[in-house]
Symmetry: C2
Subunit: 681 residues, 2 copies
C-alpha cells in the first residue's frame, strides 16, 4: 500500500509505501533533511512538522493520524528540550496515510558556499593527455596501411611519436572521422594510447579536465583547460550523501545497516559529480566529449564510496583501506558521463584515516619549499594532520568529531546565512557582540537590526563557536578547565543555570535562545584536545617542540580566526603571522594533479614515504589528550600567543611544550575518546 | 498496422508490421532463410511458399491475397526456371495480412558441421594470464597497508612478482573476497595487472580461454584449460549474419543499404559467440567467471563486424582496413559475457583482403619448419593465399566468389546431409556414380537406395562440384576450355541441350533434376582461375616455378579431393603426397595464440614482415587469370599430376609452369573479374 506524501517548502511529492519512515520518504523524493546518526533517532536533527488539513494543491488530506505514534527516542529528545514544539523526528515517524510534511529551515540540509579561488601558480603544465593535430594520408593499395597505421605515421612524422596503441573506441570510429573531417583530425594521446579523435579543422580547440574535491559535506569542482591551465568554471554542490548521514561515520553506519546503502550513496555522489560537470561545461560552453581527464581527492570513506568500495572496514580497527596507492579508473566505470574514454585519477589515501584529500593538501602546500617544520591541518569530522620539513613527512588523523562543524553543539549549525560567525565579549559587562553570515555589521551597530531584518539568526557556525569559547575564556566566564564560573550568574543574566551546570546566553528573540552550554564547551574541548594531541604526537615523532609554519586547510580552517584558535589551544603556539588559512588546499592539489603528470608522480612518491602514525595505538596520545582538555593546555606554554593576547593568569608561566614528560597521566578521557571513535556518532 | 506471421517448419511466429518483406520478417523472428544478395531480388535463393487456409494452431487465416504482387525480379527468376513452381522470393514479398509461410528445405540456411579436432602439439604453454594462489596477511595498524598492498606483498614473497597494478573490479571486491575465503585467495595476473580474484581454497581450479574462428558461414570455438592446454570442449554454430547475406560482400552491401545493418550483424555474431561460450562452459562444467581470455580470428569483414567497425571501406578499392595490427579488447566492450575482466585478443589482419584467419593459418602451419616453399590456401568466397619459405612470406587474396561453396551453381548447396559430395563418371558409358553426405555408399551400390530412403538428394556441395567437373573433364565431356561436347548429346541423354548450351544430368527423381550446366562450369572456371592466378603471382614475386608443399585449409580444403583439385588446375602441380588438407588451420592458430604469448608475438612479427600483394593492381594477374581459365591450365604443365592421372591428350606436353612469359595475353576476362569484385554478388 502506498500513500501520497508531499514535502514543503520544496514541493517535492510522490507515492510512499506504508510504514516507510519520513526520513527515508524524504530520501526517496530527493528532499534533503539534516541527519547525523544515519536515521536511528540519536541525533535529533531531522525534525519535521506534520501539516494538517486539506491541501488541494497536492490533492492530499493530511492529519496527525496519518503517522505512527511518538517514540521513546522522540520523548527523550523532548525531555532535554532538543525536540522543538509540534515537531517529530522524521526517522521515527512512519507513513500511515497521505501527508504534507513541513521541513523547518533548521532541519533543511543546506547548501554551502564553494570557494572558487585556486592557488596553483608557477606550475609547469604538462597534463597526462595531449592533443595533436594531424593531416592523415589517403590509403592506397600499394602500402596496404590501415587507417590506424596512417594515423600513426602522421603522428610519427609530425610529432615524432612512436609505440602508440589505440583505444577500441577510436578504432571503431577512425574511418568515419577521417572521412567526415577530410583527413584533418586531432587526436588525444594519453600514456602512448590514442584515446580520442576529433575534427582537426576547428581552431582554438583544446581538451578539458575537472578537478574534484569530494568532501563529506560539499563536492567542489573546477573545470580547466588542459593546454592553458586556466580555470574556466568552478562549481560545487552539497554531497547528497548527507541524506544518508551527516558525517562519514554515520554513512559507514548506514552501509552496515542497509545492504543497498553503498550502492545508493555511490549513485548519489556520482550523479552529483555528473551534474556538476554538466553545470561546468554549460558555463564554459565546451563539448562534453572534450572532457578527458578528471581528478578526485576525498577522505578515505568518501574515496571508497565514490569508487563503490565497501567503506565498512574503514569504520573499525584496524581501519583497513582497500588500497593506499593512487588509481586510474575510466570515468565510465565510475558512472560519470564525460568522454567515454576519459580517465579519472584518484590521489592516494595516506592511511585508513588520512585521505587523498590530505595527500592533495600536501601536494598543494609542498612543504619542501619552506625552511623548518610545517604543520598542515585539515579540520573536518576527522582532523587530518601532516607535519613535514624538507625531507620527512609525518601524518596522522585525529577523531575530532563534528563539534567544530557546529554539530553536537546545542545551537550549532552549518556555515549558512543567519549563523553567528564572530563573537566578542566585553570583559567588564560580560555582554556579547557578534556578526552573522549575511551581514557585515557587528550586532552592536545601530544599523544591525535593520540590516538583518530579513535574516533569521538561527545558530552558531563552527568558526563562531571557536570565537565564543575563546571570548568566554578570555572574559574568564569559563576557567582553564572549561567550567562556567557559577558566581557570575549573580552578576549577569547572560550566565544562567541549566540543570546542574551553567550556560551563557549569546542571543535571544521571541522564537529562540542561542546559548552556549557547559556541554557545548565540553564538546569543543574534546574535539580540540583530540586535534592537539594528534599534532603533539607528530611533533614528538619528529623530535621537535616548536613549529615554524601552520597551514589551516578546509572550510573550517578558512573561516577560523587563527588567534582564537590558538587561545583555545586548538593548535600549538606559533608566530601568529606564520599561521595561515590556505583555503581548499585539497582542491588546489587536485588541480595540480590535473595539470601535471609530474605532480602526480611527486605526490605518489611522497605518500609512499610518509611516516604514518596511528593515534589509536600510541599510548602517549592519551596523555596529550588529557593535557589538551585544558584551555589552552595543561602542560604546554603559548609564549608567542601570550605576547599579543592577555591570557588568564593561570596560563602565563607554563614551561614550553615538550615531549614525553607526562607518561603517567593517562586515564579515563583517553579511553572515552577511543570509545567515541568506534561508535558512529 | 501489424499482422500475425508464422513460419514452418520452424514454428517461429510473431507480429510483423504491414509492408515488411518476408525476408526481413524471417530475420525479425529468427528464421534462417538463404540469401546471398542482401535481399534485393538478385540471388533468387530466398524462395518460400505461402500456405493457404485456416491454421488453428497459429490462429491464422492465410491466403495468397495477404501478400504484395509478383515483382519483376521474381518474373525474371521464373523465366530462367530458377524460381520453383508456387514459390515467391521472400525479399520481394510484402506482408499485407496474416500469413503462414513454408520455408522449403532448399531455402533453409542450414547448420554446418564443425571440425572438433585440433592440431597444436608441441606448443610451450605460457598463456597471457596466470593464476597465483596466495595467503594474504591480516591488516594491522602498524604497517597501514591496504588490502591491495597486502596482496602484492604476498605475490612478491611467494612468486617474486613486482610492479603489479590492479583492476578496478578487483579493488572493489578484494576486501569481501579476502574475508569470504579467509585470506586464501587465487589471483589472475595479466600483463602485470591483477585482473581477477577467486577463492584460493578450491583444489584443482584453473583459468580458461576460448579460441574462436569467426567464419562467414560458421563460428567455431574451442574451450581450453589455460594451465594444461587441454581442449575441454568444442562447439560451433552457423554465423547468424547469414540472415543478412550469405557471403561477406552481401553483408557489406547490407550495411551500405541499411544504416542499422552493422549494429544488427554485430549483435547477431556477439550473441552467437556468447551462446557458444555458454554451451562450452556447460559442457565442460566450469564457472563463467574463470573464462578470462578469448582469441578471435576472422576474415577482414567478419573481423570488422565483430568489432562493430564499419566494413564498407573493405568492400571497395582501396580496401581500407581500420587497422592491420593485433588488438586487445575487453570482452565486455565486445558485448561478450564471460569474466568482466576477460580480454579478447584479435589476431592481426594481413591486408584488406587477407584476414586474421590467414594470419592464424600461417601461425598454425609455421612454414619455418619446412624446407623449401610452402603454399597455404584457405578457400572461401575469397581465397587467402600465403606463400612462404623459412625467411620470406608473401600473401594475397583472390576473389574466387562463392562458386566453390556451391553458390552460383544451379544445383549447388552447402555441405549438408543430402548433398552430392563425390562423383565418378565412367569414360565409356558417361554414366555417373556418386556419394552423398549422410551415406557412405556409392550410388551404384545395390544397398544405396535403401540406405538413402530417408535422405532427400538435394544438390551438389562444393567438393562435389570439383569432383563432377574433374570427372567431366577426364571423361572429355567438357574440353580444356570447359565447353560441353555437343556431339555427346546424341550418344547419351546424360548430356542435354539447355538453351544454346549443354548440360550434364547427374541425378534425377520425381521432384528434381540435379545437373551441371555450362554456366556452372564457367563459374568454377572463373573461381579457380582467380585462385590459380593469385598463387602464380606470389610464385612470381618469390621467383619460383615449383612448390614443395601445399596446405589446403578451411572447410572446403578439408573435404576437397586434392587430385581432382589439381586436375582442374585449382592448385599448381605438386607431388600429390605433399598436398595436404590441414582442416581448420585458422582455428588451430587461434588456439596457439590462446595458449602462448610467444605465439602472439611471433605472428605479430611475421605479419608485419609479410609482402602483401594486391592482385587488383598487378597487371600480370590478368594474364595468369586467362591462362588459368583452361583445364588444368593453358600455359603451365602438370608433370607430377600427369604421372598418376590420365589427362586428356591436349594437356600432356605443355612446358613447365614458368613466370613472366605471357605478358601479352591480357584481356577481357581480367576486367570482368575486377568488375565482379566490386559488385556485391
Amino acid at each position: 500500500m502506498a500513500h501520497k506524501v508531499a514535502f514543503s517548502p520544496s514541493g517535492l511529492k510522490g507515492e510512499i509505501a506504508t510504514d516507510t519512515d519520513l526520513l527515508e520518504a524524504a530520501r526517496q523524493l530527493g528532499v534533503a533533511i539534516e541527519s547525523t546518526c544515519g536515521g536511528n533517532g540519536q541525533c535529533g536533527k531531522c525534525q519535521i512538522q506534520i501539516s494538517e488539513g486539506e491541501f488541494s494543491k497536492y490533492g492530499i488530506h493530511s492529519t496527525l493520524d496519518h503517522v505512527s505514534h511518538f517514540t521513546r527516542a522522540e520523548k527523550s529528545h523532548q525531555q532535554t528540550g532538543y525536540l522543538r514544539p509540534n515537531c517529530r523526528l522524521a526517522c521515527c515517524t512512519k507513513v500511515r496515510g497521505d501527508l504534507v510534511i513541513d521541513v523547518p529551515s533548521f532541519s533543511q540540509a543546506q547548501q554551502q558556499m564553494v570557494r572558487k579561488t585556486t592557488n596553483v601558480s608557477g606550475l609547469a603544465i604538462v597534463p597526462k593527455i595531449q592533443l595533436y593535430r594531424i593531416d592523415v594520408a589517403e590509403p592506397n593499395m600499394h602500402d596496404q596501411d590501415g587507417d590506424i597505421q596512417l594515423v600513426k605515421k602522421a603522428l610519427w612524422f609530425e610529432y615524432g611519436l612512436t609505440d602508440l596503441t589505440v583505444s577500441f573506441a577510436v578504432l571503431q570510429k577512425i574511418h568515419a572521422q577521417l572521412t567526415q573531417s577530410k583527413r584533418h583530425i586531432a587526436v588525444a594521446v594519453r600514456d602512448n594510447e590514442i584515446v580520442a579523435v576529433f575534427d582537426g579543422r576547428i581552431d582554438n580547440d583544446s581538451l578539458y579536465g575537472v578537478a574534484f574535491d569530494v568532501g563529506s559535506t560539499t563536492v567542489a569542482a573546477h573545470l580547466l583547460d588542459l593546454q592553458s591551465g586556466k580555470v574556466l568554471a568552478s562549481s560545487g554542490k552539497m554531497n547528497p550523501q548527507i541524506r544518508f548521514g551527516e558525517d562519514v561515520m554515520a554513512r559507514v553506519s548506514y552501509v552496515m545497516m542497509n545492504p543497498e546503502g553503498l550502492g545508493a550513496m555511490n549513485q548519489a555522489v556520482t550523479q552529483t559529480v555528473t551534474e556538476i560537470i554538466t553545470a561546468l561545461i554549460d558555463e564554459a560552453g565546451i563539448e562534453r566529449a572534450r572532457v578527458l581527464e578528471c581528478v578526485f581527492v576525498a577522505n578515505p570513506i568518501m574515496h571508497h564510496i565514490l569508487l563503490n568500495i565497501d567503506p565498512v572496514p574503514l569504520g573499525q580497527s584496524p581501519f583497513d583501506l582497500a588500497t593506499n596507492e593512487s588509481l586510474y579508473v575510466p570515468t565510465n566505470a565510475l558512472g560519470i558521463d564525460v568522454n567515454d574514454h576519459a580517465m579519472a585519477y584518484i590521489l592516494p589515501c595516506i592511511a585508513g584515516h588520512v585521505g587523498a584529500d590530505a595527500a592533495s593538501a600536501l601536494l598543494s602546500v609542498n612543504p619542501v619549499q619552506y625552511a623548518g617544520w610545517t604543520l598542515i591541518v585539515d579540520i573536518g569530522t576527522n582532523a587530518e594532520i601532516i607535519l613535514a620539513n624538507d625531507s620527512r613527512v609525518y601524518a596522522c588523523s585525529s577523531p575530532t568529531g563534528p563539534a567544530f562543524e557546529g554539530a553536537q553543539i546545542s545551537c550549532g549549525q552549518r556555515a549558512a546565512v543567519g549563523a553567528i560567525e564572530r563573537v566578542d565579549i566585553d570583559k567588564a559587562t560580560l555582554a556579547p557582540r557578534f556578526k552573522i553570515i549575511g551581514c557585515d555589521l557587528w550586532s552592536d551597530d545601530p544599523a544591525f537590526a535593520a540590516a538583518t531584518a530579513d535574516i533569521q539568526i538561527t545558530g552558531i557556525c563552527g568558526s563562531g563557536i571557536i570565537e565564543v569559547m575563546s571570548a568566554l575564556f578570555l572574559a574568564e566566564i569559563i576557567n582553564e578547565d572549561g567550567v562556567f564560573d557559577a558566581n557570575l550568574a549573580e552578576k549577569t543574566d547572560r550566565v544562567f543555570a541549566q540543570g546542574r551546570t551553567y550556560a551563557y546566553k549569546l542571543y535571544a528573540d521571541e522564537t529562540r535562545v542561542i546559548s552556549v552550554s557547559q556541554n557545548d564547551v565540553r564538546q569543543i574541548q574534546l574535539a580540540k584536545a583530540a586535534l592537539y594531541a594528534g599534532i603533539k604526537l607528530l611533533m614528538d615523532k619528529a623530535g621537535i617542540t616548536q613549529l615554524d609554519d601552520i597551514f589551516l586547510a578546509g572550510a573550517f580552517g578558512t573561516h577560523i580566526d587563527t588567534k582564537h584558535a590558538m587561545v583555545l589551544g586548538i593548535i600549538p603556539d606559533c608566530q601568529l603571522d606564520r599561521v595561515k588559512s590556505i583555503g581548499n588546499a585539497a582542491g588546489d592539489g587536485a588541480i595540480k594533479a590535473l595539470l601535471s603528470t609530474e605532480a602526480r608522480e611527486d605526490i605518489e612518491t611522497a605518500v609512499r614515504k610518509i611516516y604514518k602514525i596511528e593515534t589509536a595505538i600510541e599510548e602517549k596520545f592519551q596523555v596529550y589528550f588529557i593535557d589538551a582538555m585544558a584551555l589552552p593546555n595543561k602542560s604546554d606554554a603559548f609564549p608567542a600567543l601570550a605576547k599579543i593576547v592577555d591570557l588568564p593568569v593561570a596560563n602565563k608561566d607554563r614551561p614550553s611544550a615538550s615531549a614525553g614528560d607526562s607518561d603517567s597521566r593517562g586515564g579515563d578521557s583517553g579511553n572515552r575518546r577511543r570509545r567515541r571513535r568506534r561508535e558512529p556518532s
